[in-house]
């Protein structure tokens, strides 16, 4: 039984322990704190207040209420190009 499974058992255990170590290190360093703020990391200020033509009136108003007046999306490429 053991000869056919030893290598895989050791490798999987190693990967598992590595993941556990990474998890504990993340926990100790506070990476699970301030969760809501973390979700904003990829977004820059200019991502919030640009008019998005697919949004409904209600969604647009909600965006304005939260982020102020919206700017027209005149910057070329804002949805996929070189903005």
């Amino acid at each position: 039984m053991l000869p056919s499974s030893l290598a895989v058992t050791v490798a999987i255990t190693l990967l598992g322990l590595l993941t556990v170590a990474l998890f504990l290190a993340a926990y100790r360093r506070g990476h699970f704190d301030r969760i809501d703020a973390q979700s904003l990391i990829p977004l820059d200020d200019d991502d919030f207040n640009v008019t998005r033509p697919w949004e409904s009136e209600a969604q647009r108003e909600a965006r304005m209420a939260e982020h102020g007046p919206l700017r027209p999306a005149v910057t070329p490429g804002i949805w996929g190009g070189a903005a």
């Binding site: 039984m1 000869p3 056919s4 499974s5 030893l6 290598a7 895989v8 058992t9 490798a11 999987i12 190693l14 990967l15 598992g16 590595l18 993941t19 556990v20 990474l22 998890f23 993340a26 506070g30 990476h31 699970f32 704190d33 301030r34 969760i35 809501d36 703020a37 973390q38 979700s39 904003l40 990391i41 990829p42 977004l43 820059d44 200020d45 200019d46 991502d47 919030f48 640009v50 008019t51 998005r52 033509p53 697919w54 949004e55 409904s56 969604q59 965006r63 027209p72 999306a73 005149v74 910057t75 070329p76 490429g77 804002i78 949805w79 996929g80 190009g81 070189a82 903005a83």
Partner: protein
């Protein structure tokens, strides 16, 4: 590959200070990773074309077995392995290296550190690719699934090359100017830590017999789950919120998805050996772990769906979003399919059939490749400082590969099931089994042809971008914010919003 350092359009900087700071950070981050990412995408596109040709030849050979049999390099066993390796390590991995070096500096608000190491790593990776593909075509395969490239000629280049890129990324993360790591960064860290381990274990030369089979499937399954999947999910978690202008629905769910992937996935590979001469506890553990994969899959699927919820109209505007959402949906589908295929009762029917081939393509193509296409559509214009040349080419690309996948996957899955039923029937002859598979094999070649056409369109568009061509209509395709993938109701739009 000449490119200017300036973005195509310099945004208006006369806004709030924080916005200027944001923009400055973003531009510095992009500039630092620019050379490496551009080269990575160039290599990736070359491998995409090469892999497509190998794949198409291999596919046609399954229903035209006498075609191209005069040259040993073009026999099925070699061409099929060359296809798999060119796509998994050449196209997908090179693109992932480019996406990773571009995304990490942005997410940690600093410049890419030791970019020369990343660039050297990228070159070494691709040297390994060239040697590996030549080796496979010349008949020097290692004979292991997903590890066919010669162990001593090619594989060291992947370990050193990937290690150098990983060194650059981990140095960048260590020098970050944000306190927390976004979930995409977690995925990328994990991928670059997990890959060298599984690759070295998978290639270790001392295994033989049953143990070799077990180690092989430990590697092959984890190559998808612990290397390709994390980087693609990282891209999805970055681009979906970025384009929609809103954070992901639940950050807690995203973390749950990441950590459960880390804890459960590495146990999954042994379900490929159900019925094989391995200890029952080992297989059963793998089946249970495969079932537990429902947790990260549902977490990712629900999160991405809810982030996009009531904003599906965005798919008509952004090519990036359309490709990435396609890929994200495919991730949910392929993962759920994988969970069910791991159960013994289902595996008994699908094992050794073309259902497995279709399943692999749903993962490596519909999920991984579509997310890489979407990422490149977003990143490349920012690196080259100019817009994509033609919205029509983007549209052709999307529909060719979208329809191609349906034509490829559906007949192949159905005929694979028919094949499984026929093989389970002791009264069926092998000829009857082959006849039952034939519609699926022909559908696969037609679908593969459509995919290859889509790849040629994409490669031509990328070539035009590198050459510095100007948009034909005088304005870049995204000058107006109007639907670009479907042209319906485009006339109702005016610049900046809905008419």
């Amino acid at each position: 590959m000449s490119a200017t350092l300036q973005p195509a359009v310099v945004p208006d900087l006369s806004t709030a200070t924080s916005e200027v700071d944001n923009l400055d950070v973003r531009l510095r981050a992009d500039a630092s990773s620019r050379q490496v990412a551009i080269r990575a995408f160039a290599f990736a596109v070359v491998w995409l074309l090469a892999g497509s040709v190998f794949g198409l030849v291999a596919s046609f050979k399954l229903h035209l077995p006498d075609w191209l049999v005069g040259n040993a390099a073009l026999t099925f066993g070699r061409v099929r392995s060359a296809h798999l390796n060119a796509m998994a390590y050449g196209w997908a991995s090179s693109a992932m290296l480019g996406v990773s070096v571009w995304m990490v500096p942005r997410l940690v608000h600093t410049e890419l550190r030791v970019p020369k190491a990343a660039e050297a790593g990228l070159y070494l990776w691709n040297v390994g690719m060239v040697l590996g593909i030549i080796g496979i075509l010349a008949g020097y395969s290692d004979g292991l699934e997903w590890l066919e490239m010669p162990r001593y000629w090619a594989d060291p280049f992947f370990v050193i090359g990937g290690g150098l890129v990983g060194l650059s990324l981990l140095s960048t993360i260590a020098m970050r100017e944000v306190e927390h790591l976004y979930v995409s960064v977690w995925y990328i860290i994990a991928a670059f830590v997990w890959f060298p381990i599984i690759f070295v274990v998978g290639n270790w030369p001392t295994f033989s017999g049953v143990e070799s089979a077990a180690v092989n499937w430990f590697y092959a399954h984890n190559a998808l789950g612990l290397w390709l999947t994390p980087v693609c999910l990282a891209a999805a978690y970055y681009f979906i919120p970025k384009i929609l202008g809103r954070p992901i629905y639940s950050y807690q769910l995203s973390l749950l998805g990441f950590w459960t992937l880390g804890f459960f996935y590495s146990l999954n590979g042994m379900h490929h050996l159900i019925g094989g001469p391995l200890p029952t506890w080992m297989i059963t553990t793998s089946v249970v772990a495969s079932g537990l994969m429902i947790i990260p899959v549902i977490a990712v699927g629900v999160n991405q769906h809810m982030t996009l919820n009531r904003r599906f109209g965005a798919l008509r505007y952004s090519p990036t979003l359309r490709f990435i959402v396609f890929g994200a949906v495919a991730y949910t589908l392929v993962s759920l399919q994988g969970v069910f295929m791991a159960f013994r009762e289902v595996n008994r029917l699908t094992h050794f059939t073309h259902v497995t081939v279709a399943h692999a393509h749903l993962g490596l193509y519909s999920f991984v490749t579509m997310i890489m296409f979407g990422s490149i559509y977003y990143i490349l214009p920012r690196l080259l400082g100019r817009e994509w040349i033609s919205e029509r080419l983007i549209s052709w690309h999307f529909w060719a590969v979208g329809i191609g996948q349906v034509v490829y996957l559906v007949p192949l899955t159905v005929s694979g099931m028919v094949q499984g039923v026929a093989m389970s029937d002791p009264n069926s002859t092998w000829e009857q089994v082959i006849q039952a598979m034939m519609p699926g094999l022909i559908g696969r070649s037609i679908g593969g042809t459509l995919l290859t056409i889509g790849h040629c369109v994409f490669a031509y568009h990328v070539f035009l971008m590198f050459r510095g061509a100007k948009p034909r209509q005088g304005l870049p395709p995204f000058h107006e914010v109007a639907p670009i993938v479907t042209r319906r109701d485009k006339a109702t739009f005016v610049q900046g919003g809905v008419a």
